[in-house]
Amino acid sequence: MRRPRRLLAFAIAAAVLAITVPVAFAAQIITLSGATASFPLLEQLTAKYATLQHNKIRFSVSQGGASVGIADVGAGKVDIGDSSRGPQAGDPPNLYFYPIAKYFVCVVTNKSNPIANLTESQVQQIFEGKVRNWSQVSGSSLSTTIDVQSRTSVAGVLTTFQNTLLGGGKVASPPATAWASEGLEQQAVEKDPNAIGFLSDYFAVNNKLNAVAYNGTACSVANAVNETYPGWSFFYEVTKGPKSGTEGKFINWIQTSKPAKKIIETNWIPLTITKPVSG
């Protein structure tokens, strides 16, 4: 029985080490939850910030949708809520929304159906399923049935599209086909000459698709920056009470530092406004 004892002693020593080593180097953990749309951005920002702080600060970022993040931070379940929409009636009290970046949503069609412009009412009629044939859409030379491509209801981009370009309306699905990701929706529009859809700027503004102007304003970075194009929205970090402590420092870092700006510039638009929007 001597040897198994020695084995046991080894096992206990290993277990003790495994528990105490991480505790000795314990990092403070900031928890975030919320918007799926801003998740790719937050993933990069938190990773960069943790490296810059020599891993003394760690992050736990979960998704769920803007409303979930807002409810979570209101209930004190997380330190920061991620939101892709501004404050709304019905949100928990005493929340502060700090914008961190801008993004925008474009209506897109297939390259072979290069519609230049759609008005708000045209967009509403198409996505609400009231107009179902391209012949009813001025500016299109097609006379085929419209294939409306949309996102599953949990998508933040869908929320932004409905709140801005659709003027608060809802995409009707069915008939619209709901895709589980922006990539799938992108390729559905790319492969189908009769398709129309909406995508965030990263997926929409490229040479694969035709990004449609809205009420005569082109869907472009320049127009989203000066806000003449209405289909933009902020990504917000939401805190309960004014930002403070480690979370506050992290939000300040996103809003003002050069490394954060660099990350934001890759696919989104950096801010100039750093004042909170009262909630």
Binding site: R3, P174, P175, T177, A178, D192
Partner: protein, 326 residues
């Protein structure tokens, strides 16, 4: 220390180790059931079993569930997932029927008719196909078959249903075809194994009595392996019912109930299954109502897989007279 491990185990020790592994499996299954039912409990307690019925659009209900607060009202749990159950049964049923016909024909050919060289290549190739990950079939569907069927649908057909649903390629035909392609190899492998285990003299005796080779196979070999066929169908059905990725990529993305009386259009109509709904909406799991609803759908899938095993067992019982396999 090492040579102690290398030495053969005593009976008692082997019994303990193997028993522990078996217990672990049992504990794993029980834990999983408890976990899923616990997650689904709010839906059962607020909505009983009425969420299995059919009322309103599943898509819009799931959308609304996404935006409920932490303390939701009982009415927030209301949903009618019948279109998902129907979609699951429809796609799995048609795919298994198609796959069974092909698998049976292929196995009969491989075992009783193919030249030895063909048999030697076919058998490993089929086993290889059975191991192809399903996401690959999903990609083939979404990149190749969906755009192709979108060309097949005429503008008249699209216009005829335009205000209800959209026929844009993905739908019943594409999913059934992909599921059938996915499950045919595993069925063929199982049925081939069973046919090979039928004693040769049985079939040869039938031929000696004057049956032609195909009749002899059908009357003797296939009849003898009916339990194995039922087993293969059960396994394939379970895989088809649980398949989420292929369906979510190729089903047309709307929880509609395809109507067989629509004629040709039926094959292009979109639908969703229980499994694909879970995978498509998993992003919203932290919304409490949606969390519970998706778990309830998962509990339903778990229950249906138990029922499937039970049904396969009960069907096999009276067929076991010849005892050549399973």
């Amino acid at each position: 220390m090492l040579d102690r491990i290398r030495r053969p185990w005593s009976d008692r020790r082997a019994e303990l180790v193997l028993g522990a592994a078996a217990c672990l499996l049992a504990i794993g299954i029980v834990t999983m059931i408890v976990f899923v039912v616990r997650g689904a409990w709010p839906t059962f307690s607020h909505d009983g079993f009425s969420w299995l019925g059919s009322h309103g659009s599943v898509d819009s209900r799931i959308g609304a569930m996404q935006n409920t607060s932490a303390n939701p009202a009982a009415s927030a749990y209301q949903i009618g997932i019948w279109p998902l159950i129907y979609g699951t049964l429809l796609s799995a049923g048609l795919a298994v029927a198609l796959a069974l016909a092909v698998a049976l024909a292929a196995s009969i050919f491989i075992v009783d008719f193919a030249p030895p060289a063909v048999r030697r290549t076919m058998t490993p190739v089929i086993r290889l196909l059975a191991a192809v990950p399903s996401v690959l079939y999903g990609l083939i569907g979404v990149l190749l078959l969906v755009p192709f069927t979108n060309h097949l649908v005429t503008q008249q057909q699209k216009a005829s249903v335009a205000y209800v649903i959209q026929l844009s390629g993905g739908g019943v035909a594409v999913v059934v075809l992909l599921l059938a392609v996915m499950i045919t190899p595993i069925m063929t492998a199982l049925i081939t194994d069973a046919l090979e285990s039928v004693p040769r003299p049985w079939r040869e005796g039938a031929i000696a009595l004057g049956l032609n080779p195909l009749r002899a196979t059908l009357a003797v070999s296939v009849r003898a392996i009916r339990p194995a066929i039922v087993g293969a169908v059960g396994l394939a059905t379970a895989r088809a019912i649980g398949e989420a990725i292929v369906v979510s990529m190729a089903s047309g993305g709307a929880s509609f109930s395809p109507n067989p009386t629509d004629g040709v259009v039926f094959w292009f109509e979109p639908f969703e299954t229980a499994a694909s709904t879970i995978v498509r909406n998993a992003d919203g799991l932290s919304a409490p109502v949606l969390h519970s609803t998706l778990y309830a759908i998962a509990a339903l899938l778990l229950f249906s897989s138990f029922m499937l095993s039970l049904a396969a067992y009960l069907v096999k019982l009276p067929l076991r007279r010849y005892q050549v396999s399973n």
